[in-house]
Amino acid sequence: MPLDEYQYALDLERPDHTSLGQFPAAMDWGPACECARFAALRAHNLVALPNTGEVTVEPAWEESRGEPHVGSVRVVLGGNGNGATAVNLPLTYFRAAAQQASRGLVAQKILQPREEFHYSVVAFRTPRSEPAKAKRAFTIEEVASPLIVKTASSRELFAQATPFGPAHAADVPLFVPQRVLDDAAALTRAAGADETAGVLIGHVCRDADDQVLFVEATDLIPAKHTRSELTAVTFTAETWTAAESAIRLRGGREIMLGWFHSHPAKFWCSPNCGPEARRECPLARSFFSGEDCALHRTVFPQAYGAALVVTHAEAGMRYAMFGWRHGLIVQRGFHVLNASRAVAEAISSEAIIGEKHEEACD
């Protein structure tokens, strides 16, 4: 757990600066810690992820107003020494907490649904207190990260890769073979009106020449023992057991990089819609729901964790990749190895993340 000696709160206001109140924010610094650990791995040519035990989280005050007004949050790994790594999180890290607070205001009819509001962040130092005594006390010690960083050539992969989706300089390059997309599409097609899922596996790599980190997906393991429905798929304990067994059987020292799931959007469309409307259906837009975000946070909090969403639209398959950037889930670009013409020509549309997405055709 990171060392955090501050209590954060959000000041919400309307666009005309009318105050909506101050709300405490219980922050989840887990993704921020993972961001700092991966930044250290990138910056210091480490062979393993550093432990989370040395992470501190502290506010950086606004230049204009100073304490307690927060301009950004600084996540520091490794103290103040030469080997320390610091990551600055923008205030967008508090966006989910602000949306949570606004939902209460909507319930009280102080705000209308989707009404615009602004937020700023304040922080107050809290006295250190003894942690609450657990029902069952026991001692745990973090074990040094077992992540194996494979030495490989990114130049060879770039030579056979086609970029797809929105690129960003902060993102570690992610390479995905065309056949992984084909497998995901085949699973999606076979599942028909049900959502389906899988586990992405591969390696975190370091380039032999320039030491730059990148991620290479090698395969997609279909998720077994799931419960699938029109708008949901449930990963069970047996799903994870089967995936781990498959990885062990392969013997390739691959790790779980992330996951895939499908959106059977053409089956969500109203049967009353004509062919033209079905082709333009808003339900075919890629999105990463609140539940998807929660799954990604729960199972794949590592900064390299990726999530592929395949939308089965009337016009064909659409692909969108999501991942972590500065501790937030974003839509991200990736590189398709040996891309098919269909993928090379496909347009990646902007996805909705977490917020309410389309639920009906009109």
Binding site: G30, E238, S289
Partner: protein, 94 residues
């Protein structure tokens, strides 16, 4: 012979990337109590997107069996056993 009151075990998440050693898991704790105590300290969410309690199962790596929450640590586990905490969790259009 005096029996130990606690045993050491190793616990990981499903990816294997989060790994902790529990130095002294109490013999008389249930697996459910052990999981409940581990989740916050391994920074693993206890609730889903809707605030409902997430269900985690513990897989005993030694024999590939999912343990019941009511089983006792002392009856079920041996020193240096490895547990994998596996959530039952939804992805979906909500």
């Amino acid at each position: 012979m005096i029996q130990a009151l606690t045993i050491p075990i190793r616990v990981s998440d499903v990816t294997g990337q989060k790994l902790v050693d529990v130095k002294d898991a109490p013999n008389d704790a249930t697996i459910g109590e052990l999981i409940e105590g581990l989740l916050p300290r391994m920074n693993m969410p206890a609730n889903d997107n809707g605030g409902r309690t997430l269900s985690y199962q513990a897989l005993l790596d030694r024999d590939g069996r999912h343990l019941h929450a009511s089983e006792l640590v002392g009856d079920t586990l041996m020193p240096h056993d490895r547990l994998v905490l596996q959530p039952e969790i939804n992805a979906g259009a909500k």
